[in-house]
Symmetry: C2
Subunit: 196 residues, 2 copies
């Protein structure tokens, strides 16, 4: 590849994008969710392991299953969001490596190595969680990611009998920009980076 | 925000972007690294905790300090890359919360809670690692992220006496597209996503 993203693109995915808590009355279509996934799936993961698994909670019934697991401060904004994505990761991601990374026996790197598989699922599942946020913004959605929920309860309700575990939640919709507070400060380059 | 990213932008950061292993003889300027950080810093983290810490290894001397920690298959491409970023996270990220999240006492959520702080640093440090990759592509760089290295050795060499730990490495430069292999497959929407 060559070239840079234009200013409008940098604004859309990073500089002007904000975490939203108040949502306009505008639904999110199936087509938009597919478009989101069909971008995020291209983000790189270690050995293309792609451990992220996503549940889009959109119906009223599914939202009510999520409600008891939410931290108190996250209930209203989540119940009001058009969609809440549960971003999870599959601890048995390596069973898909023969298809996803076919040119070598990558599955054997992880079988019986629970600690390595766990760290790999979490690291790469979180990378994919960030690709999800950026891809959502790229397709015109606003995001409200959050960690404030009972992971064990979400796992029991949505992932029982599987090897998938919840990582974080992300509300999706079209945000009400008039409800935003000023953006919090970020660390300067010299506080976060060293150049050797 | 409103609007979507245009097709060229989606191609640049997701659809056409590839992991590179072979680098053109073109250096990466300080200005480009600052531009990269000044985009990635805006990606959202839990309570704006911003745990990522980055060492840009660019000089020959610093590259030689990194060499012994690299997995055998990663040595040549890393030594040849114009820059190798060590993406780390600060386990004491919460000491900065009074500045980063000033409207409440968020520091107290983590003090003395080592397990929560560790999980938060890793999850959010990985989210920021993905923002780093996307921001690098946005400023026109190619990336070669990798997990194949000795984390303890990198930590001892680059983060001794600190609470920073390495997460993954990412080569940066301008890739030689003629050296790319065909892209590996991705999971389909229905394999990775559920819509409830």
């Amino acid at each position: 590849m060559s070239g840079k993203l234009d200013d409008a693109g940098m604004d859309l995915i990073f500089r002007e994008a904000r975490t939203h808590n108040v949502w306009l009355d505008q639904q999110v279509s199936d087509a938009t969710l597919h478009e989101l996934y069909d971008l995020m799936k291209y983000g790189p993961t270690s050995a293309n392991c792609s451990p992220a698994r996503i549940v889009f909670v959109r119906s009223r019934e599914a939202k009510e299953r999520l409600r008891p697991a939410l931290a108190k401060g996250n209930v209203d904004k989540t119940m009001n969001a058009p969609v809440t994505a549960i971003i999870g990761y599959d601890l048995r991601f390596y069973d898909r490596l023969p298809e996803l990374f076919p040119h070598t026996d990558a599955r054997s790197w992880f079988t019986g190595k629970e600690e390595l598989a766990d760290a790999t699922a979490k690291r790469n599942g979180s990378l994919q969680g960030a690709y999800f946020i950026i891809a959502a913004r790229a397709v015109g959605l606003d995001c409200g990611p959050m960690s404030g929920f009972d992971q064990a309860r979400v796992d029991a309700e949505f992932f029982a009998g599987t090897d998938v575990r919840s990582n974080f939640l992300c509300n999706l919709g079209y945000g009400d920009a008039s409800a935003l507070h000023p953006r919090s400060p970020r660390l300067d380059f010299d506080e976060a980076c060293t150049l050797l």
